[in-house]
């Protein structure tokens, strides 16, 4: 077999493969022989018809079978003899003529994975940043928890403070005329009775909420509100509206004390233990963050210290996958399609940028895995797949079937292998405080 390799780009090769006539003839005869065994020709029992009759009737089919057999065989032989690691087949001759007694030649363009040398990956030196938990952080966390459980109490002895809830009656006017007459779209904003509103910027009209501060029960005043460009009712944007407001009730936000009832759900004995528990949880969060940072450092080290040409098709494919994932995530979060389309260019740009690094990292890690003989055992794969299935709300068996159909199982195995390898590198690294 004659193989010529043309280098189109660092990672792209054009293979011209010629299978000699003798081999084609030999393979044809074998194909014919196997066809005769089953050929059903009138006048003959199956398998008894003479070769020339079978040939006359089924030549087309036989040649097709021959091609289906010869093409992969010769291709595999070609990549085996030249030790090419093919990532993807890009292009192939469409019409390949196969005739017994003639050479069969065709060309095929493939993207290959280049062989590259790994940096010294054992004992990567990393600097650990010790993460101390400050008392203020614990306080902040506890305050947030208290905020979440805040209750409201009716009060009448003081004016409205920020964060209180106020019950108000209001009527709105635009340039002296009732709002609804001027802007028919502003239904519900024109007036309200016994309306509860939060007295800060979280109110449905932030300026109205802020303007309430300092008022007492029974007070009434005019508050001028200028709607900004982002207000939900389009017709009101940029308009100045006067709200005549009367305060009827005030409720103050009361934060719960850290008492037995408050700490009960945390399963701790007393306030000190509660504090310690909060501190622990912040600490473990920080530790996890630090671990992740160190892993990213390792990834960065590998990326920076390896020179490697990447096959274009693999990068494109990774980018495509990423784009699909981003869009999928967005639509799952309920983002409307029009908005996604608006951001299309930014998404594509972001995906392309990270795709090249992802592919490179994958190659490096898989090569290290090979060198270190790290493998993924089937039990691990099964477990990971079950976890993923539950995350998607599927049955593990269904997911496995889907992955198997899409040939994505190997990809998935690769992902796990990458993670394991990274963990191995992390264990091998020299970490200084």
């Amino acid at each position: 077999m004659n193989i010529e390799i043309e280098e189109l780009s660092p990672c792209r090769r054009k293979l011209s493969i010629t299978v000699p006539a003798e081999e084609v003839t030999q393979e044809y005869d074998e194909a014919l022989k196997s066809w005769i065994k089953h050929a059903n020709i009138p006048g003959f029992r199956p398998g008894r018809a003479p070769a020339h009759l079978v040939k006359a009737r089924h030549n087309k089919d036989i040649v097709e079978r021959l091609r289906d057999h010869l093409l992969p065989k010769s291709y595999r032989e070609a990549i085996d003899t030249h030790k090419l690691e093919v990532v993807q087949i890009l292009d192939m001759d469409e019409e390949i003529s196969v005739k017994p007694g003639e050479d069969m030649s065709y060309s095929i363009t493939v993207d290959i994975k280049e062989d590259f040398s790994l940096p010294e990956y054992k004992g990567i030196s990393l600097k650990k940043q010790t993460a101390e938990v400050a008392d203020e952080e614990v306080d902040k966390q506890i305050d947030e928890l208290r905020e979440q459980r805040a209750t409201f109490e009716d009060i009448d002895d003081r004016a409205i403070c920020r964060g209180d809830m106020a019950q108000i009656d209001f009527t709105a006017t635009l340039d002296g005329a009732p709002l609804l007459e001027a802007v028919p779209e502003a239904v519900g904003l024109d007036k309200g009775d016994d309306f509860w509103i939060q007295a800060d910027e979280n109110a449905f009209i932030p300026e109205l909420g802020e303007g309430l501060a300092g008022m007492n029960i029974g007070d009434s005043t005019d508050i001028n509100v200028k709607f900004d460009d982002k207000f939900a009712v389009e017709a009101l944007r940029g308009k100045e509206v006067d709200f005549n407001v009367t305060v009827k009730n005030i409720r103050a936000r009361v934060l719960p004390e850290i008492d037995e009832e408050f700490i009960k759900p945390f399963q701790v004995k007393d306030a000190d233990e509660f504090r310690a528990k909060i501190r622990d949880s912040i600490q473990s969060q920080k530790d996890q963050g630090e671990q992740n940072r160190l892993r990213r450092e390792i990834e960065k080290f590998l990326l920076d210290n390896t020179t490697l040409e990447l096959p274009e098709s693999a990068v494109n494919e990774a980018a495509d996958r990423q784009i699909r994932r981003i869009i999928n995530d967005m639509s799952q979060q309920g983002m409307p399609e029009a908005q996604i389309m608006e951001q299309k260019d930014a998404i594509v740009e972001a995906a392309k940028g990270s795709a090249a690094n992802n592919v490179k990292l994958r190659y490096i890690l898989l090569k290290i895995a090979d060198a270190e003989k790290i493998t993924v055992i089937d039990a691990d794969l099964k477990r990971e797949m079950s976890m993923m299935a539950y995350a998607y709300g599927m049955k593990p068996a269904d997911l496995e079937k889907e992955l198997g159909d899409n040939n994505a199982k190997e990809e998935f195995r690769g992902d796990i292998l990458m993670r394991n390898t990274l963990q191995q590198l992390f264990d091998l690294a020299t970490i200084s405080e």
Binding site: G43, F44, R45, R48, A49, P50, H52, L53, A56
Partner: protein
Amino acid sequence: MKPAHQVIDTILLTEKGTVLTEQHNQYIFKVYPSANKNDIKTAVESLFKVHVTDVRTMNRIGKKKRERRPNYGRTSAWKKAVVTLKEGDTIDLT
């Protein structure tokens, strides 16, 4: 003498026929029932440019066929001829 196309219908390619050809240099033809051995001999000789040493014929009665009701009919009757050629002569069937 009848012209060849009124004598020979077709060459029969069957398993039995191939065996006869291999072992006895004989060929099987489907011929018109009205053709006699002399007609067949001349027709084969003139068509294929060979020498015929022997012709044996047999009348094949049409097969009995039934419709959905037991309403019997028959397929056409036909005549088969086994023609032996002089040693060395062949007919190319491919």
